[in-house]
């Protein structure tokens, strides 16, 4: 398997706290990897480092064998590293249709065009159409995002990331706050992504993790605690002790 995304000795310090401590992971092409760990293990910090929202104190990040540690967040997105946020980050004054049309335009490299109207490019609307229907947003496509119900906004959060056609998709608790019944649907869409897209998932709901992921990385106190396929990790007594023992609490958060 070819490695797409890799970190080498990644370290992040905030004063006396080390949320990411010497993390070296390899995400292969087409991976369905879950990133789990107790609260405060540094999962979101790791995503922030991978996407360039935070700068690492030490270590490096590699994409397709190229060092991207110094690249700005938007440059990484253009290379295919796309994320969703644990807390919705949306464009409140735009409509879902406009948000997606802009994201699709950005992916097509025409987001700086000022002489053509948004949507004038024939490739934009069909892609929006697919995404809006996939995520059941077609009936609210023309409403202001800020006025949408939470569930719809959560769906838009993920749809916006998919509009960027990720090669590596980082999902930070994608179904947080989504009613039980609709969670599987979101995962079905994620599962249906092309086989060469790598997915790194942060999730507290162990049923979803074990259903979705093929491999698991366990973070504890900022460091990689264990790594392996789903079977190995779910049977690892050490992992059970540090994490699965707290899964009741984890469920409450998810």
């Amino acid at each position: 398997m070819t490695t797409v995304l890799e970190t080498r000795g990644l370290l992040k310090r905030f004063g006396g706290i080390t949320p990411t401590n010497d993390v070296s992971i390899q995400v292969e092409k087409g991976a369905r990897r879950a990133l789990i760990g107790p609260n405060g293990a540094g999962k979101t910090t790791l995503i922030n480092l991978l996407t360039g929202v935070l700068e690492p104190t030490a270590g490096s990040i590699w994409l397709d064998g190229a060092d991207i540690t110094q690249l700005a967040p938007h440059q990484r997105v253009r290379r295919g590293v796309v994320r969703t946020f644990q807390i919705n980050q949306l464009f409140g004054e735009l409509t879902p249709l406009q948000s997606l049309a802009l994201s699709v335009s950005a992916h097509l490299g025409i987001s700086a065009q000022w002489w053509r109207r948004l949507g004038a490019d024939a490739r934009v609307a069909p892609r929006c159409d697919t995404l809006l229907k996939q995520f059941h947003l077609d009936d609210v496509a023309d409403q202001k995002v800020a006025l949408l119900a939470y569930g719809k906004r959560r769906l838009l959060e993920i749809a916006t990331a998919l509009a960027c056609e990720p090669r590596v998709l980082l999902l930070d608790e994608p179904v947080a706050g989504v009613p039980e019944g609709e969670r599987q649907e979101i995962f079905d869409i994620i599962n249906a992504l092309p086989a060469d897209v790598s997915v790194l998932l942060i999730e507290h709901d162990m049923d979803l993790v074990f259903n979705f992921a093929k491999s698991v990385t366990v973070l504890v106190n900022g460091a990689v605690f264990a790594e392996g396929d789903v079977q190995t990790i779910s049977n690892d007594p050490r992992v059970k002790a540090v994490y699965l023992g707290e899964s009741a609490e984890g469920h409450a958060h998810g």
Binding site: T51, V53, A72, P73, H74, V77, R78, V82, R83, F85, Q89, L90, F91, G92, E93, L94, L97, Q98, S99, A101, L102, S103, S105, A106, H107, I110, S111, A112, Q113, W114, W115, R116, R117, L118, G119, A120, A122, V124, A125, P126, C128, D129, L132, D138, D139, A141, D142, T160, A161, A163, C164
Partner: protein, 328 residues
Amino acid sequence: MSAPSSAADFQSALLRKARWHPLEFVAWAVAFALPLVMPSHSLLVNEIAIVALFAMSLDLILGYTGIVSLGHAAFFGFGAYAAALFAKLVMPDPWVGMGVAIALAALLGAITSVLILRGTDLTRLMVTLGVASILYELANKLDWLTGGADGLQGVVMGPLLTPFGRFDFDIAGRVAYAYTLFVLIVCLLIGRRLVHSPFGYSLQALRDNRLRAASIGLSVNARLVAVYTIAAAIAGAAGALLAQTSGFSSLDVFDFHRSAEVLLVLVIGGTGYLYGGIFGAIVFKLLHDLVSAWTPQYWNFWLGVFLVVLVLVGRDKLTKPWTWWKRS
């Protein structure tokens, strides 16, 4: 109305927003006809159009991009002095002077845009205020060039060359008005193109959420530099119009009250739809004209009353009198 259901429907829904409203054509026809209907008011209407253009440029950065500025007069004033000096020292042609003023204001905008990339709204208020103050003092001190506190005198504009013939700027201001309105409508056309394009929507995106804007691959800083430069260029055009149609430029073009006034005008008219600056300018200037004719000393008092009422009641409600006695 049923929800759109195919790609073609979604495309037309996207494109619909950029379409002209029939009322817009009517409004512009009326605007061009005004000097014919009431020729004695050409100067006032000219002044309104200049303020409208200035406020429209602020709308691009404030309404669409969410950048607050208390020093937008820096670009207005820079355009005014550039046009006046160009006419006085190089050549009196208004079109060329306009082009030069726009280019110089854009350059100033591009340079000073670095200052608004970082920091918060509060630091941006300070920095923009500072830039305008610096230019004010420069214009004051360089009196050999700018005439200092006396203003730049002796600016003689050449005739306006158009496909319809040569027109000299007249005392009544009719040529001035037609010229200003032409520049205003050209800038509005460009502005409309801009805000309905992917570029325009990306400005709104980074106003709403910079973190997400970067996360869909938009270069936030490049957009900020671009829109600040464009807004500066349009503000410069407004300043150049003032200098060219009045044949004069004074320190007051850089003054703080001008930056504050354009902010008021935009707030009165509403941000984020380009016409806000135009409506705001009409209301503000007419109010100014009427109230100061009635009670010259207390114009500011009545302006204050108007603003308080506007904010308390809300623009929507204020412009729809038929809803005043309805319970919401």
